[in-house]
Symmetry: C3
Subunit: 321 residues, 3 copies
């Protein structure tokens, strides 16, 4: 196994941390998707529980608020039978002047097995993974503008369930790419899984520099960008970034980049429509489109639990076998 050294993998190439899509290969991403497929059945059982992580302790370290991601991680952890500790870092020890490293060493001393980390600084999860002992796995639940790998994998899982084969797909990613950790992770995952055509559609002010280097086609014209695509991934417009230089009004944005039923017709007939939530109806998406048959937005949520169970179980496998 002459694999390049990657903090996410152990010496056998198995998943140890899940920090970013970059650095993982197609076979590992496929293994996650296959494992998630097995976990989907747990949510349909009478007793939605498997004893896989019984007696393991998982700490959810949320340095940034979140409902959807946090609740689905919490559910995934409980369905794996782990003991869960929720630590709202904003209201705790760091307020007493303790360094992040000291906080981490203390949590490590509490014999916690896994940290699920959400942080507004890019690279926070990597930093944490570099500073915990071998026995602890770190899962990135979103760091700054950098990465949101479990979101990307639940999106990939949803696409695979609907479209089977990534190697024939045209995928459009629409909206505030600049501020989106989700978009970055999706682009990496689609590339690794062999998607031949990824289009990024956004106003110039919401496009990061050198985005083309990631292997995507860029357009500022949504009608051009949507033509014939099989998958549309809408991004959430962060309201707090609406003001100032970046954007005109919400109305203007909707006029130029909102996904309307008329624009949906430009895509393939069986196009699927995705959104990481929470949606701003009438801003980035027309309400009736969000609820249309093409929408798989709620399937994304359901799939998120199975994908998170898979990632956590895989990262702990050295620990539980």
């Amino acid at each position: 196994m002459n694999r390049p050294k990657n903090i996410q993998l152990d010496s056998n190439g198995k998943l140890r941390h899940f920090l970013s899509i970059e650095g993982l290969n197609r076979s590992l991403l496929t293994e996650i998707l296959d494992s998630a497929e097995n976990f989907t059945s747990v949510g349909k059982q009478q007793a939605k529980k498997v004893p896989l992580l019984r007696g393991k302790t998982i700490a959810n370290l949320f340095f940034e608020p979140s409902t959807r991601t946090r609740t689905t991680f919490d559910l995934a952890e409980k369905r794996l039978s782990a003991d869960v500790i929720n630590i709202d870092i904003n209201r705790s020890a760091t307020a007493k002047g303790e360094t992040l490293l000291d906080t981490l060493q203390n949590l490590t001393a509490m014999q916690i097995d896994m940290f699920v980390v959400r942080h507004n600084s890019s690279g926070a999860a990597h930093f944490i993974a570099q500073n915990v002992p071998d026995s602890i796995s770190v899962i990135n639940a979103g760091d700054g503008r950098h990465s949101h790998p479990t979101q990307a994998m639940l999106d990939m899982f949803t696409i695979r369930r609907e479209k089977q084969d990534f190697t024939k797909l045209k995928v459009a990613i629409v909206g505030d790419v600049m501020h989106s950790r989700v978009a970055r992770s999706q682009i990496h995952a689609l590339n690794i899984l062999g998607c031949p055509e990824i289009r990024v559609i956004a106003p110039r002010t919401l496009l990061p520099l050198h985005i083309e280097d990631l292997g995507v086609h860029v357009t500022t014209n949504i009608d051009d960008g949507l033509a014939g695509v099989d998958v549309i991934i809408m991004l959430r417009l962060q309201n707090e970034r609406m003001s100032g230089a970046h954007l005109p009004s919400k109305q203007e944005y909707f006029k130029d980049y909102g996904l309307t039923s008329k624009r949906l017709k430009l895509a393939a007939d069986d196009v699927i429509l995705m959104h990481p939530g929470p949606m701003n109806r009438g801003v980035e998406i027309e309400s009736s489109v969000a609820d249309s048959d093409n929408s798989v937005i709620l399937q994304q949520v359901t799939n998120g639990i199975a994908v998170r169970m898979a990632v956590m179980a895989m990262a702990m496998q050295g620990n539980i076998l």
Copy 2:
């Protein structure tokens, strides 16, 4: 079964949601009381747990703060072995501009089995019940001024344990009826269970219009109202409503409507005294009266857990059998 359509019941007339006392009949209320009777033993066991809802997920959606109701639901859920997710809605997704309906659909997509809902808008729990799929049960933990059905049932349970037969009772409800969801639910429950005489005692400014239509006797004179009653239910005086037109000072209120030991003597010798808590000692009730032998206020709390276990187990029965 030619039952009128009622969203709370399934096609066999079994409990599916528990939203309000209205629309339920005496046999169903009695079934809840009988079931709660069985659950009282769980709290006395060495291991206070039954595996009835093991592997089920219950989300406590509290749009309004609460300690007593929330803690007793939480305990009831854990004693039923359910997995519990507490979602403090004020601090979460709705703050990001998501609609309530989108929040609900997301929670539904997470394969949650039951929502326990507390909301400051009347009708919120009904709205939610109308908008979830068949597989999910909704329990109303208090909505606006409308209804607080589990509180009413724990009160009925407490009365039945002390007095056995509802059909011979005189019951007085004293205080801020206008703002009280508890009072409304109690009146409905007492009527359905056959209580022949319900008296409502309050200053005119705290009496809702047309309260007599609910089948109660109304008086503004507490001494008249308490004469010979078997049960006294005190209501909490909401401090935030003391100012302005509704009320004079707390001292005045206590003078005119406070339950004193002197007034307690007007009732039957074996009168029982109830209060939903938290009490304002010295405002709606004299402190020594709250602690007297006639008081069953703490039994109400204990009974609340058994009643909530009963209601949740019954609502899930289609799901677990």
Copy 3:
């Protein structure tokens, strides 16, 4: 058993509440340490769980914020398989004007088996223990400036693991003794366990009156105080007390009382260094010293879980056997 009446003990001299070190004897403290020794193995198991308190309900009542203590109690409770209710009292019923006694009676009525209490008033845990029925155990997780007995016991446990025999030790306690509940509990525990020489080192403004009466040697000169000691216990400097009469600047404090590598050399070669956390690096302790081989600061954290499991299991023993 002609033991003086002590609310912490039952009629057989067994632990019932754990409120303060004072009033307990050497054999009971040793029993706690021995029991904790057994529980250390749980944290190293594949499944970090024992079924000892399964079906028991423990309420963590935190009237004052805390991360470290609260998280380790939470973990200890989950590893004992108890059901845990976290009640953040600041944001709850007391805000509605309920008295502490009414809050307690309500929690008691919920058939909770144990209260873990953190409060900013000295004596709060004692008050609570005096006002709950016999079936409920109370554990003090820190009350005002008075006592923090589980912290003291985890410190004793850490010392015994490193030094075995208390009867030959010189121990220095350094820093803000005046405001420290930890220091008080440590001094009592060291005395009871037979430590022959306890030195207290602090500026005059941070020394409580009559501290010598506790059987300690007092010095304001850290170099004198550290000479030849086997154990150094640093206290946290509360930033909020830095201003005004008590202290000069942080820089001054570090110069006069900070533990530097140079000062560490004054102690015995195999001195161990402790700190209850969170540390202010560069204020009470030089960063490299905190991370040196002499430091057992992180072992304290790990040991805290085993000690808390031991105390809770012992206090519940009448309840579970």
